[in-house]
């Protein structure tokens, strides 16, 4: 099997662009994990809702404005859903043991998954990219989709935005403090329950952003949440629980091994990232970067 360097480069870029979506979703998951210490299983389902909502909003408007509106509205919708779930049910459980919280997020994922089926049906849906990002450009003679280039640009922007939020804003600093020592934050007179709610909603908002961004690149279907959440878990583990940069590194490892897997051995492409994860975990059982725990 011989591949030209242009092909290899293109596949690398495809891998990176897919990593960026994974990164946005995983950063949200990791953020919730860091502050609330709960692997939110419903995260994948929220991502799926983001994608389905993008489909509906794009259909409502003619032309490419729909997609840009969806990119703003769909994540907000997802955030609203998560806020309702958090304030109505989840916040009453914070005193309980971890396993209960985990199973609760699973229950939410089951319920939301079926609600998606009720609202949008079980058919495959697809969203077309806005006119500005349609078509492809040429890199060293092989074509590369413009939309993927857009993803590669937007990933670092989101990373910078998250970094600014957690390091430069007051609420971000409080949430980081709550991740390290929640009792102490409570003692300082801060309402920890609301810190948790805000962190949870921000994490879920990122899931919605990921869902909206992924919509034009895949066929939107029920069950896309199940595969994604496992990938996101793996990425968060190899990156280091709760570490945003770890999520970035993990996503890149995952996305790039997958895209090269597609190139070299398509049938087992999904196995390659898992093998990479196992190797990383054998060398560093607690992840590549430092966990916030």
């Amino acid at each position: 099997m011989a591949f030209g360097s242009a092909e290899l480069l293109c596949q690398l870029l495809v891998g990176i662009s897919r990593s960026m979506i994974l990164f946005i979703v995983c950063a949200g998951l990791s953020f919730v994990l860091g502050v609330l210490r709960i692997p939110n299983i419903a995260h994948g389902t929220l991502y799926m809702i983001g994608a389905f909502a993008t489909f509906s909003i794009t259909k409502m408007y003619a032309g490419s404005t729909g997609f840009w509106i969806a990119l703003i509205v769909a994540p907000l919708l997802v955030a609203a859903v998560s806020l309702v779930a958090e304030r109505a049910l989840f916040c009453h459980l914070y005193q309980r043991e971890h396993l209960m919280l985990l199973l609760f997020t699973f229950a939410i994922s089951l319920i939301l998954g079926d609600l998606v089926k009720i609202v949008w049906g079980a058919e495959y849906k697809s969203v077309s990219a806005p006119a500005l990002l349609k078509g492809s450009i040429s890199i060293l003679g092989s074509s590369f989709p413009r939309y993927n280039l857009f993803l590669i640009l937007i990933g670092p922007l989101v990373a910078i935005a998250i970094w600014l939020f957690t390091n430069k804003t007051k609420i971000g600093k409080i949430s980081r403090a709550a991740a390290v020592d929640r009792e102490m934050v409570g003692v300082l007179g801060i309402n920890v329950s609301w810190v948790f709610a805000i962190s949870f909603v921000i994490g879920c908002y990122l899931a919605g952003v990921g869902g909206a961004l992924v919509a034009p690149t895949v066929s939107i279907t029920l069950g896309m949440d199940h595969t994604l959440i496992i990938e996101a878990f793996l990425i968060v583990i190899i990156g280091g629980l709760g570490n945003m940069w770890g999520a970035l590194v993990g996503s890149l490892i995952f996305g790039i091994t997958h895209s090269y897997g597609v190139l070299f051995w398509p049938q087992f492409a999904i196995v390659f990232p898992y093998i990479a994860v196992v190797i990383v975990l054998l060398l560093r059982p607690k992840g590549l970067l430092k966990s916030v725990w």
């Binding site: 210490r37 692997p39 299983i41 049910l89 009453h92 459980l93 309980r96 971890h98 396993l99 209960m100 199973l103 609760f104 699973f106 229950a107 939410i108 994922s109 089951l110 319920i111 998954g113 079926d114 609600l115 089926k117 009720i118 199940h226 496992i230 878990f233 793996l234 968060v236 583990i237 629980l241 049938q267 087992f268 999904i270 196995v271 898992y274 093998i275 994860v277 196992v278 975990l281 054998l282 059982p285 607690k286």
Partner: protein
């Protein structure tokens, strides 16, 4: 050991129930026989999970993998080789236990959430391989129409086979949990630091618990093949793992028979409610939320609380 079992006040009613279960296929319709057999298989699976989760305190998040591996091992043995069929039935649980040993070896080095998430990732690797390897495992089509020995070819015969084997496994599990090994496992759950301080090799015990539990999960996988004669990749999917978790929670973590009760409730509900609605997972989610809020000790745990005086001997969890 046996004397204790016979002397237990549960012995009489339990024996009665099993006698009833043995004569049931004579007059019950085929469909009910099938559902009951499915309940036995699922109960065995849930109880095997509870060995490590409820009694061992480990976050065994991907138990379904071992169930699926057991089922696939026997299915592949029966369809791809010409070895005597009974060898396949032995190979299933053994392969499952070996998988448990390998995955467990990595997992026991970590604790709690890390343990659980690492197990999900390793289990998903196996799922991905099974899901994609069309030439060997049939990929997402699975394997159907697996031939069975004539001894257990009819539904009633396989019902008895499943009932007897699960009964034996349940007794074995009970004996394991009542043995010094099982007590140590529960002591590790309650206070790992102290156990380590008195010189217990925590990891080795936990690994032992995982291997035992995965062996019984493999048995459940084999029994599933006996009942259904087909295997598919969903058997190894993490959603099933969490469903088994729900069964344990619903029945009661800290009881021995609770998970079986939880499995019976879930399987029965899925069979009978699933006929009227396609939104079964919605109902499952609502049940789960109700259990988390109102029955955190499970149905069995709830009744134990209710009839607490005089029932200390069955309450395994020292409060």
């Amino acid at each position: 050991m046996f004397k204790n079992i016979v002397r237990s006040k549960w012995f009489g009613p339990t024996t009665g129930i099993f006698v009833l279960l043995f004569i049931l296929p004579i007059f019950a319709p085929r469909f009910y026989v099938y559902v009951l057999a499915l309940i036995y298989v699922t109960s065995l699976l849930a109880m095997s999970l509870n060995m490590v989760v409820g009694h061992g305190g480990m976050f065994q998040f991907h138990h379904a993998v071992f169930y699926g591996v057991g089922a696939y091992a026997v299915a592949l043995m029966l369809t791809k080789t010409s070895l005597p069929m009974w060898i396949g039935f032995v190979v299933g649980p053994v392969v499952a236990a070996m998988t448990g040993l390998i995955i467990g070896w990595f997992c026991v080095r970590l604790t709690r959430l890390y343990f659980g998430m690492l197990q999900i990732s390793l289990g998903s690797l196996i799922w991905a391989i099974v899901f994609r390897w069309y030439g060997f495992t049939g990929g997402d089509d699975g394997i159907h129409g697996i031939p069975m020995p004539s001894l257990i070819s009819s539904l009633n015969r396989s019902y008895y086979f499943i009932l007897i084997i699960s009964l034996i496994c349940v007794i074995l599990m009970y004996m394991i949990l009542k043995s010094p090994f099982g007590s140590t496992l529960q002591a590790i759950r309650d206070n790992p630091q102290r156990c380590e301080a008195v010189g217990v090799n925590i990891r080795r015990y936990q690994l032992g618990g995982i291997v035992a539990a995965t062996f019984f999960a493999g048995v459940a996988g084999v029994l599933f093949v006996v009942l259904e004669r087909s295997v598919f990749a969903d058997l190894l999917f993490w959603v099933l793992s969490l469903e088994i978790f729900i069964m344990c929670l619903l029945g009661g973590w800290f009881t021995f028979a609770g998970p079986a009760l939880g499995a019976a409730i879930i399987v029965a509900l899925r069979t009978f409610v699933g006929k009227y609605t396609e939104y079964w997972t919605l109902i499952l989610g609502v049940i789960l939320i109700l259990v988390i809020f109102f029955l955190p000790e499970g149905v069995m745990g709830f009744f134990q609380e209710l009839f607490k005086p005089g029932m200390e001997e069955v309450t395994e969890r020292g409060k």
